[in-house]
């Protein structure tokens, strides 16, 4: 009998040990500074009040996508455009910030179960996502570009030369929806210039780009991805190139869980207001120029 209880307690220690590793570290929350949302709000009993009381907002990020978000291996801190924007939002709310790193599928599916409060992760507010998530106004716009192998000479005019071609994209992302001509975002319309594409879905854009780098037409004729991802891949010395102008610009917003246990309306309004202010006072333009080589991606093209 004694032996079996020893096994059970050893098991409990292991499981608890892992559980203890769960939450991210963060500094303790202080009193809200004056002029911040938390100092002025009279919210109570909802998500905004909860965050102000805790003095901390938990934000999701995926640090595999520089320059939006990446992990600095030397300092152990996250850095990038999304990270700076999220930190500024937390500052103006008057709370500290802590990070969670859920996978993209879990994030876009909604039902976060209160594991984190907000996503500042370059997410496009598609109509489908709006069914489960609440979005702020866009904080920047990413150009989507067509990438081909360096050896390719046949793709000149994007409106005709890619019709029926094998094109690689990340699955279930906006680029795939663009090719399938069902990219629906309220308030935006898109010009679907590529017809009858043979769409190949990949787990991430990077895998698609690597397949393209194997050779012109080996597996893929082209890849559609964001300008920043394409440029990063080219800068790492891979034999691909960008052709033509961006095929579309996608708006990117901060997101909140519609089904969160607490009402998120006042928080969404507050952050939406903060994003508006950051557009107005030039903070976003400044951050965009800092991370995107002097380019201002914060105005709609």
């Amino acid at each position: 009998m004694r032996k079996s209880s020893a096994v059970l307690s050893a098991l409990a220690v292991i499981v608890l040990g892992i559980a203890g590793c769960g939450s991210d570290d963060s500094s303790s929350g202080g009193q809200a500074a004056s002029g911040t949302v938390c100092a002025d709000t009279n919210a109570s009993g909802d998500l905004l009040a909860d965050i102000c009381d805790a003095g901390e907002i938990r934000v999701s990020t995926d640090p595999a996508y520089p320059p939006q978000s990446s992990l600095n291996k030397d300092t152990g801190d996250y850095e990038g455009f999304d990270i700076d924007v999220a930190t500024e939002i937390a500052d103006r709310l008057g709370v500290d910030i802590s990070w969670e790193t859920p996978s993209w599928d879990v994030l876009t599916a909604g039902s976060w179960n209160g594991r984190w409060d907000m996503s500042v992760g370059s997410m496009t507010p598609t109509n489908d996502r709006q069914k489960v998530l609440d979005f702020t106004q866009p904080y920047y716009y990413t150009p989507a570009v067509v990438v081909v192998n360096e050896a390719n000479t046949s793709v000149q005019d994007l409106t005709t030369d890619l019709d029926g071609a094998s094109i690689g994209v990340c699955s279930a992302c906006t680029y795939e929806q663009f090719l399938n001509k069902d990219l629906d975002i309220k308030g935006y319309s898109f010009d679907y210039v590529i017809d009858d594409a043979d769409v190949h879905g990949y787990d991430t854009d990077t895998t698609a780009l690597q397949d393209l780098a194997l050779g012109d037409g080996t597996r893929l004729d082209a890849v559609i991805t964001s300008l920043t991802t394409a440029q990063g891949f080219i800068d790492s010395g891979k034999p691909v190139k960008i052709v033509g102008d961006p095929v579309f610009y996608e708006p990117l917003s901060a997101a909140f869980d519609k089904s969160s246990p607490m009402d998120d309306t006042s928080l969404v309004d507050a952050v939406d207001g903060i994003v508006g202010d950051m557009h107005q006072d030039g903070t976003l333009t400044e951050l965009s120029k800092k991370w995107y080589d002097g380019t201002d991606l914060t105005v709609q093209q």
């Binding site: 499981v15 996508y65 990446s70 992990l71 859920p102 039902s111 209160g114 790492s236």
Partner: protein, 306 residues
């Protein structure tokens, strides 16, 4: 052709077998090294990022150990239920094996990670007096915990069959003899049947553990926080960020392989230990032995006796 091979075998008979095997390995590794070189991997990047990825070993091992601990407990209970005549125990274990062997591990992980919190929330909303807020929060599991639980439940189902076979491999006479001595069910299992069953159970269990160590990679699909990420998640992270997926995956493969080699070594020692009662030793003539060596003789037939 066959004649030639036979002559080669005869003429090389003086070279020890182990040396020949070692030679085969050297040739295979030369090929591997050649492929590695031809693939033109960025070795500088691999060296730079080795420590970052290797730090995940700690959590890979935690998750695998937690998973195998849960699996062993479940497998033992499941196997005892599977051979019992109690219809409730038999029914539950039958369902458990069928469900957890019949659905993919990754689906079970997502069910535990995503569906449990939903159930907790809905129960709390519908029956607030029965299910408190704490109950609701307790079902929101950390990704690593959800993954460990899923691994334990899934592997426990497979190992239930291993344990059942092990217990049933013990000769029926052993249990009958225990009954005849007036032992209770618990005494019979603990003192007579299980010690003999473990000799059969240990090798396949070690095998399951080695398989589980690599299935810990699936936890990364739930999105473990970076500070506590295991090998595969760390490899994916730096690989994607620097566009060096292949290099990162090769590093991860090497780390998993190294882990497997280490645990295979321990598994072999454990197997030798549990089967020591069955090892045939040369019959020794007592007359030829010095007296002090005689007392060091291994006890014969320890595990085999009733």
């Amino acid at each position: 052709m066959g004649d030639r091979l036979e002559r080669l075998a005869v003429s090389s008979a003086r070279i020890p077998f182990r040396l020949k095997v070692a030679l085969v390995w050297v040739v295979i590794f030369a090929f591997l090294g050649f492929f590695f070189w031809v693939a033109k991997f960025d070795t500088d990047w691999m060296l730079d990022n080795f420590t970052f990825i290797a730090k995940g070993l700690q959590y890979t091992i935690y998750i695998a150990l937690g998973g195998i601990a849960i699996a062993i407990v479940l497998a033992l209970l499941g196997a005892l239920a599977r051979i019992s005549s109690n219809p409730i125990a038999f029914g539950i274990s039958g369902f458990y094996i069928s469900f957890f062997r019949g659905t993919p591990l990754i689906v079970q992980m997502f069910l535990i990670y995503l569906a449990l919190p939903q159930i907790g929330t809905n129960l709390h909303v519908q029956y607030p007096e029965l299910f408190s807020r704490q109950f609701e929060d307790s079902l929101v599991l950390d990704p690593a915990v959800a993954g460990t639980l899923a691994l334990g439940l899934n592997y426990g189902a497979y190992m239930t069959e291993i344990f059942r076979a092990g217990i049933q491999s013990v000769a029926a006479g052993q249990g009958e003899a225990a009954d005849a001595l007036g032992m209770t069910y618990r005494q019979k299992m603990r003192r007579v049947v299980l010690p003999q069953a473990f000799r059969v159970i240990i090798p396949p269990t070690g095998n399951e553990f080695i398989a589980m160590m690599k299935d810990t990679a699936l936890v990364s699909f739930l999105g473990v926080s970076i500070q506590h990420a295991e090998v595969f998640r760390r490899a994916g992270l730096v690989g994607k960020a620097d566009f060096k997926n292949l290099e990162a995956l090769v590093l991860a493969a090497a780390l998993y392989w190294g882990l497997t080699i280490i645990f295979t070594f321990f598994q072999r020692r454990l197997e030798t230990r549990v089967s020591r009662g069955y090892v045939r030793t040369e019959p020794l003539r007592t007359a030829e032995l010095p007296s002090e060596e005689l007392s060091d003789l291994p006890p014969h037939g320890k595990g085999g006796g009733g």
